[in-house]
Amino acid sequence: MGNEEAVFFSRVLTELTLSFHIIYATIGVGVPLMIMIAQWVGIKKNDEHYILLARRWARGFVITVAVGVVTGTAIGMQLSLLWPNFMELAGNIIALPLFLETFAFFFEAIFLGIYLYTWDRFENQKKHLLLLIPVAVGASFSAVFITIVNAFMNAPQGFDVVDGSLVNISPLLAMFNPAMPTKVAHVVVTAYMTTAFILAAIAAFRLLKGSNHVYHKKALYLTMKVGLVFSIATVIIGDFSGKYLAEYQPEKLAAAEWHFETGGNAPLILYGVLDDGEVKYAIEIPFALSILAHFNPTAEVIGLDQFPEDEVPPLYIHYLFDLMVTIGMSLVGLAGLYWLGKLLKWSFVDSKLFRWLIVLGGPASIIALEAGWWLAEVGRQPWILRGIMRVEDAATTSAHVDTMLLLFAGLYVVLGIGTIVVLSRMFRKNPVERELEDRHIERGGDIS
């Protein structure tokens, strides 16, 4: 296999693994928090419905966490198998957060095992809830540490290259790089947001499919509220991400916004298509790009004209950006409307149509998640380590990458189908109504 082929297949395999893993990883970060909230509310209100909600989420979580763990192991090792030159360099500078991540993961794994097998073992529910804290902390910190590595790839610092060798290495400086604050915040908060909307979609779906149990209404109300909070937080962090990009990775921002010429009063281009270098059918919001980039409607925004052609990311990332932002904003609107509707007792938020929209919100938030990661990764091209190492110089020289791609693709199909089958069977065989009866749960209050 020529090396060009090895590079191509390495890219495809990495993209495939990450795209698959990120769904499980996101759920893995978000669900522990959701379980914690539900169990906490249940204890506070002495409402067994919320406790059961926590318990059922925990049961489903085991399945997703298992796939998350094994695909996470896969991507962890694939980094070295497919990008050995990059990992040799990265190992010297950014190994610390990678190493810390395994500790966070370790911590989470131990307490998850304990938490799952100690339901009803304690007289005091609060003690059991305490065991979940290390799970949630471990899960979120795994995300923090791994995202720090990704941030480093976008804004490498903490070392100097003198005559081709690395000197003055500072692991802490490398960790706390300029991309880190916005990236970490964005990843963690969107994980909570995505999870909340996925769980809301499930609750809405159950309500649509015949069950009118107050259990599902409580689940829906709780998840939509959490979703609203974190989607608003996402918008705020997104704005800061724009400012980070304008300062440190202007080519990424410019490519995502189709901002070709450097200049002030820059408008924000939404949607549209690119026809022979010309933007057509787009919506232009005057001054918006300048505001996004610098908080100032007249500020100058660097355009793609400032970069050599072979250092400009592919322009199709604009579509990914549009997709991500559109879905994100729609979800803010949907959750806001729901919350307001519940507050003011508008009946249409309980209508079939509205509930279908909430169901749609689940898959939509996963699409937004994928679009966001593709934007982040493709937007860094042609670099694997911005300004230092190009993707084609990082890849393996090994043959057989194409065969491995096929094997892993098969694996992900098996795991994906397995997850869906097992989860749906698990909950269909043991519906809420029956479990409530089995457990003789009568203590259940009203919603909210």
């Binding site: 925990a58 085991v62 399945i63 966490v65 298992a66 763990v69 094994v70 996470g72 192991t73 896969a74 962890g76 090792m77 694939q78 070295s80 198998l81 497919l82 990008w83 050995p84 030159n85 990992m87 040799e88 990265a90 190992g91 010297n92 500078i93 190994a95 610390l96 990678l98 190493f99 810390l100 395994t102 500790f103 993961f105 370790f106 911590f107 794994a109 131990i110 307490f111 095992g113 304990i114 799952l116 097998y117 100690t118 339901w119 009803d120 073992r121 290390p134 500072s170 692991p171 393996t396 020289t397 090994s398 990458v401 491995m404 094997l407 892993f408 397995g418 997850t419 097992v422 698990m426």
Partner: protein, 341 residues
């Protein structure tokens, strides 16, 4: 002690942890499948499930810790091993992924497909076989440099008796370690039938384990004389390890203190594993890569060691809690309580 030695000792310790906990896990899967085949499933399944369910995820972390840690302490390994191990490591990964996730699917989702149990049991044997190839490769002779890039010679690898001896050792060690542990665990659970059966397996697999271990040493004499003579220099360590082996077998044979028997077994493998590693030093990949020329910079090494110590302070109490709640809790082990979500 130099930073290099501290680094490799930390990693080697975690690899040893993986060796023990993963062996128990892999072996248990195999015994479970085998008992299905011979219609003795009712004897073993409960004991095995009780042990595995809360800890299987932790097992996996030991492996992740090792391969992330080695990139941190010895970044050059990414270049040498990353390039050459693509195929064996990918196969091991895929098997691990199927095995790990289907364990969860089966345990928490829905029970009872026989074909699945066989797959699960077999995968547990292929994984150590695939992973053990790394040790074989590290002995040198299978990697050549072509255009400044390492290339693995599969033909030489698969026709070498050393490869197959190490594969056989990894398999019999997996079954031996697992059987000894499960004998102890079944005995604690008060399950007589399972204890008798596991004790039989333990005795059965003890001899292939020790014979192949000796065979590998003989094999190394011609394959890597330097490593062999280093091992001879510390013959007493291997001798001590052998005495512990004898102790384990004797206790099992006499049906006495299974806990101590497992303790001796851990001691046997610990000493042999570290003696092997000590003799292997300084090479990570003979003769291209040593722990000295592949070592990371000092700033990174120190920060990794600090992180390791801080992490350990968090992990040891947590692991203790896990063991106390499940491994050393009588009610749980005996199946009197099942508080699964």
């Amino acid at each position: 002690m130099t930073l290099e030695i501290i680094g490799i000792t930390v990693l080697w310790t975690f690899l040893f942890g993986y060796l023990i906990v993963a062996s128990i896990d892999f072996g248990a899967g195999f015994f479970n499948a085998y008992s299905l085949l011979t219609g003795r499933q009712h004897i073993l399944t409960n004991v095995i499930q009780r042990y595995l369910s809360p800890v299987w995820e932790v097992t996996n972390v030991f492996l992740v810790f090792f391969f992330v840690g080695i990139i941190g302490f010895f970044p050059k390994t990414a270049f040498y091993y990353g390039t050459t191990l693509l195929v064996p490591a990918s196969i091991a990964l895929i098997l691990l992924a199927i095995r790990g996730s289907y364990y969860a699917f089966e345990t928490y989702g829905s029970r009872g497909h026989k074909g699945y149990s066989f797959m699960y049991g077999l995968a547990g044997l292929f994984i150590p076989a695939a992973l053990s190839i790394v040790l074989t490769i590290s002995e040198g002779g299978f990697i050549t440099m072509v255009n400044n890039a390492p290339v693995l010679d599969y033909r030489a690898l698969f026709t070498s008796p050393l490869t197959w001896a190490i594969v056989v050792l990894s398999l019999s060690a997996v079954l031996y370690i697992s059987a000894v542990f499960l004998t102890w665990y079944a005995n604690k659970a008060g399950d007589k039938e399972a204890t008798i059966l596991m004790r039989k397996y333990a005795l059965l697999w003890s001899f292939p384990t020790i014979i192949t271990a000796v065979g590998i040493m003989v094999e190394l004499r011609s394959h890597n004389p330097e490593h062999y003579s280093n091992m001879l220099d510390i013959w007493w360590a291997f001798g001590l390890s052998f005495l512990l082996f004898v102790g384990t077998v004797w206790l099992l044979y006499k049906k006495r203190s299974y806990g101590a028997a497992f303790g001796l077994l851990v001691g046997q493998f610990l000493i042999a594993f570290f003696a092997y590693g000590f003799a292997h030093r300084p090479y990570l990949l003979y003769p291209y890569l040593t722990i000295y020329d592949s070592f990371t910079n000092e700033a990174m090494a120190i920060s990794l060691i600090i992180a390791f110590l801080a992490g350990l302070a968090l992990l040891i109490p947590s692991l203790y809690l896990l063991l106390r709640l499940f491994l050393f809790n009588k009610d749980y082990v005996r199946g009197k309580k099942d508080n699964h979500a």
